[in-house]
Amino acid sequence: MTKLMEWVFVATVFFSIWTAAITGSAQSTLLIKWRTPILYLPLTLIILFGLYAVSVVLYRTFTFNNCEEAAVELQREIKEARADLRSKGLALKED
């Protein structure tokens, strides 16, 4: 099953149950009592997931490691490499 089919499958199952619940094809006092929240359930879930996604992405963006040390180390090694390669006879452009 492709990832797309998995999503379609889960969505179909979810909306079948949801449709049955709001159209009254399934009868239960609980369903009548909770009709409004159930009606807005898909929207609520989408909003909640959106908030979750935005906060996770922003958190990860702000905590994305800045590899300052790696950059400094690389610059040092570049100098070392250029000096060593020159001594081995490689013609390099000026620094």
Partner: protein, 253 residues
């Protein structure tokens, strides 16, 4: 660190039957190539693993190949192999071309622009040996991994794209678009054959196909230092390419 010496001895023992072929596809990298090769030699000699570097230059007009020939004189024809091609023909075919000439049983692929530091190769080798993994992928997104030289916009796009791909594709690896990886040779050959996309999204497809084939993937956090010489790009067309490929993989895998 006192454990450094013994770790190298252990690694040497673990890899005594192995050889690592490092593929370096280049295009206009005359400034970077000497440095990257110097760094590879430095860290591979230190790790005492058998290795070779295969430079696949796609007819760079800046004379990358001439520099590579100079480097070959310095380090020897057994260490530096030159397998140039006439013109730019894409990453996937560059790897196939390189593999054909590789004498190692493991292949390391990395960028020659100094954004990938060779010091991580021994770490990948070690992880691969301990867990007998099919692929070890460098990752910017977990542990000590990270980037240097990216502004807020670039980081946000990167994290956002990563979040969406993880959600839709569940690849089992945290860095899909990175191209610093160690592969078993036959695994890489099989993956390249099964991939259809071109360009940098090709890296993403490789990991997704690997998941399909149930290959074991491990990860090593890497620091990604954005291009020291030359321009790095992330424009509208790259983003469009990425979204297109992601949806393609979402619908077909």
């Amino acid at each position: 660190m006192s454990g450094e010496g013994s770790t190298n001895e252990e690694l040497k023992k673990l890899t005594k039957n192995d050889k690592y072929s490092i593929l370096l596809p280049t295009y206009n990298e005359r400034d970077n190539l000497p440095i990257i090769i110097w760094l590879i030699v430095k860290y591979m000699e230190k790790s005492q693993c058998a290795y070779e570097v295969i430079v696949i230059d796609d007819g760079s007009p800046d004379g990358t190949l001439e520099v590579a020939k100079e480097l070959q004189k310095i380090y020897g024809e057994d260490k530096i192999l030159l397998r140039p091609r006439e013109k730019k023909l894409g990453l996937g075919t560059a790897y196939i071309h390189g593999i054909k000439h590789a004498s190692g049983n493991f292949i390391v692929i990395m960028d020659a622009d100094l954004s990938h530091h060779p010091k991580f190769i021994p770490k990948m080798i070690e992880l691969q040996r301990y867990l007998d993994l099919d692929i070890v992928s460098g990752t910017r997104y977990i542990g000590d991994g990270g980037v240097y030289g990216w502004d807020f916009r670039r980081k946000l796009i990167s994290r956002g794209a990563n979040f969406i791909t993880q959600l839709l594709l569940r690849p089992g690896a945290s860095d899909l678009t990175g191209s610093f990886r160690l592969y078993k040779k036959d695994v890489l050959e099989k993956l390249i054959k099964s991939c259809v996309s071109k360009g940098y999204v090709f890296q993403m497809e490789m990991i997704i196909r690997a998941r399909q084939f149930n290959y074991q993937i491990g990860e090593v956090p890497i620091s990604f230092v954005d291009r020291v010489y030359g321009e790095s790009k992330l424009g509208g067309s790259e983003i469009f390419q990425f979204v297109k490929s992601m949806l393609y993989l979402f619908a077909t895998t």
